[in-house]
Symmetry: C2
Subunit: 209 residues, 2 copies
């Protein structure tokens, strides 16, 4: 298809598509003349990914480029690449001081209690530390029973998510990035709605079959 | 304790405490003279809540006041008050047009599939609709098996959360607001870490006993 048709199919203005081409986020089309190129479904699919990363996920063009680079070139160590890709997603975390031998004590203790991998280079460790500190400061530290319950449920969800992961490396990175970022707001909304549902059952004694 | 001692115990500057007093977020101390007042642990506890709402939770002073008002005066219908308090938390959602008879079709269908309460006045319904739309636009619509799996796990977590809810109404509202807002980042970080742990097990075949 021509760029005008790609614009129509994607719902994006031609100027935006040209911007993504110039920025190297979108792969060039197949040149059919000195001034024309043709595009295919791969371009359309890529535009959807770019739009998700720079829209709902909230990345800058530079941050999106980092993640698209990992999708395009997953390398030989898929486990490391998946970790880097997820670490490039929001929320941004401050790097720990190199002088601090144990910068994430709460997260480390939590992961030890759960018997899970502890890798301080993975950004979610710093995120967990910040989240646990905020809860503690508010006088609501995460209790051990709550940690174990949350950890158990989320690991079951993670098993489910990983079972659905495509085996082809490029697709696996894309799935992991989008599935992490786009399903997080779904999970949070579903959690609030589950609270509401349980509260309705308890406080109203609603019989909903 | 005097205001200087309250500042020391809370770690907040006196000027900040005076600002919260003027704005009506913090209840006045007990006057001991024309220019002095005395404060107790209730003030200290309240300062922690104010700091959490305006810090990690990210509310404006005006938004925090709305929630503190619901904690102070939960009224007779605790179920409604809990819903209003959670709806006042981020993320902000746009109100649906009054002309639209079915503004949240994806969220409605999801809640019907889960057999849960559907109340379009609860902000999490609009949040779910936005999150499902974003996933769909990115070419990763939430599949029915995933919805049912996520919904089942989150409802189990919600049962756990509600079991820990204090029965006293003021404390129940505070617990619900802070537990919703402060444990969400914990859940998201734990989810990413669970993915990492499952991926490590699968791709590295790590034997972690």
């Amino acid at each position: 298809m021509r760029i005008s048709e790609l614009a129509g199919a994607s719902g994006l203005p031609i100027a935006t598509i040209k911007f993504y081409l110039r920025e190297g986020l979108l792969q060039p089309g197949l040149a059919t003349s000195a001034t024309q190129a043709t595009y295919d479904d791969g371009h359309l699919r890529r535009l959807r990914v770019i739009r998700a990363l720079t829209g709902p996920v909230g990345l800058s063009v530079q941050q999106a480029r980092t993640i698209l680079g990992l999708i395009d070139d997953p390398g030989d160590d898929l486990y490391q690449t998946l970790g880097s890709a997820v670490s490039a997603l929001p929320p941004a975390v401050e790097a720990a001081s190199v002088d601090n031998p144990d910068p994430y004590p709460r997260a480390r203790a939590a992961l030890e209690a759960l018997g899970q991998v502890y890798d301080p280079g993975f950004a979610a460790v710093a995120q967990l530390e910040a989240a646990l500190t905020a809860a503690e400061d508010a006088g609501m530290p995460l209790s051990e029973p709550r940690l174990l319950e949350y950890g158990r449920q989320l690991r079951e969800l993670a098993e489910f998510d990983l079972e659905q992961m495509p085996s082809e490396p490029h697709a696996a990175v894309e799935y992991t990035v989008l599935g992490t970022a786009l399903y997080e707001p779904v999970l949070l909304a579903l959690r609030r709605l589950a609270h509401q549902d349980v509260a309705a059952e308890r406080t109203l004694g609603a019989d909903r079959g």
